[in-house]
Point group: C2
């Protein structure tokens, strides 16, 4: 058996999820906290590799003893979140821990993930949203937001999404199934929500950049199927900045 964790983090101070040299990462912090708690080095397997500056409302990871398929501990599983949290910096917090089978894989076992992208759409920037939403000062009309919502819905379905994949990515199978995609506005926050069985590198951020083109009037919702069909990164819009992106939910 191994431990399955759910955590939240503010990614602002980190070079993304995965361990890198010379850079604090979420995985590195989890490595240190679990080694301190369990008394031995652990292997942490995360559900995805979020980029530098990207946040998580729900990130999933498993913990096993380094080089082994499971771990043993006398700590009651329900005490593990708090015991890890005292060992983690305050921009990372574990909110759930449970035992799972050794065969469970935090990354390959993912059935679908939901990302949320937040745009702060108001003339003046908001200090409480710095690093947490993409600030676009020029206000979009309700019609523009409705057009972006209509465009987002055209992402749905099983498609080759390589138009929305960062150039240089080495992934071969670029077909994914988007199960839900929508845009809504609440107050000054425009939220793009997208659920899929998997995501290509920078896919949500490039989709979001393309939707901003729609809100700015530079593209129309009905352009989306063409952009997708071209299977060419140059067909889509800019890459929205990392700091508006949140991994929001993960289903196994």
């Amino acid at each position: 058996m191994k431990i399955f964790l759910k955590l939240k983090y503010d990614g602002s101070a980190y070079g993304g999820y995965q361990v890198q040299k010379n850079c604090p990462t979420i995985q590195k912090m989890l490595n240190e906290a679990t080694a301190s708690l369990f008394g031995y080095e652990c292997d942490i397997t995360g559900c995805s590799r979020t980029d530098s500056g990207v946040h998580a409302e729900c990130f999933c990871a498993t913990v096993a003893k380094k080089g082994e398929s499971g771990l043993t501990t006398s700590i009651p599983v329900e005490k593990i979140p708090q015991a890890l949290n005292v060992r983690l910096p305050d921009d990372i917090a574990v909110f759930s821990a449970e035992w799972v089978e050794d065969s469970f894989h935090a990354r390959y076992g993912v059935k679908e993930k939901t990302y949320v992208y937040k745009i702060h759409n108001a003339p003046a920037r908001d200090p409480f949203l710095r690093n947490r939403a993409w600030h676009i000062p020029k206000r979009f009309s309700d019609e523009a937001v409705a057009a972006a919502d209509a465009a987002a819905r055209l992402f749905c379905g099983k498609h080759d999404f390589s138009s929305y994949m960062a150039a240089g990515s080495k992934v071969v199978d670029t077909v994914r199934e988007v199960k839900h995609a929508s845009v809504k506005k609440e107050g000054d926050i425009i939220t793009f929500t997208v659920t899929a069985d998997g995501f290509l590198y920078n896919m949500v951020r490039i989709m979001c950049g393309t939707l901003v083109d729609v809100m700015e009037g530079a593209r129309k919702p009905q352009d989306i199927p063409d952009i997708t069909a071209r299977a060419d990164r140059r067909a889509a819009g800019r890459t929205a900045p990392a700091h508006g992106l949140y991994l929001y939910d993960v289903k196994y």
Copy 2:
């Protein structure tokens, strides 16, 4: 004529509003930004002296040329927020600027202020609320929150509030009029909102600490009039930490 500014700030990185030696403060940042924009040193007068770590959703201040009662500038007033924001760190943002008479005083002219205090009441801490709400892990029941609300309402009226003033404060007139006070819960956030014609040093934080005693069952709502009547700091509860406090609104 002088310039009247409204601004928001995340106070986490600052030693409060007022200029101090060896410590970044909001006022210091405004001094630097206005000197850079107008080309001469300015006097900034703030509506209150928020403490280290305290935030503002709406802080008011006036800007005059140093040693003078007003200022002259060829910059259109509607351009001033953005022109200052590019000169301010991203945890401070000006969202409004207008001309006011030289006789207007940002501090003495205040008719009432509203503060909001946020408690994050959930077992696991939230990385997105660190430095922005007081985390109390043990969940309070709806009845406990209702009791705190009933207690808060007993702050209302014109009273000597010296029980809720930090020991050592040199203020002589400790009578203030609380016009509104309430507690409500939305999701995991318990919010204490209080409006008064003025506040003593640490008054909102001590009131909030006393309300937490009520939620914990250590005090009853009907204890509040007695605590107030004793006019003794020792009668009230602990001082809630600074980082949950927000200056929310100011009326002139």
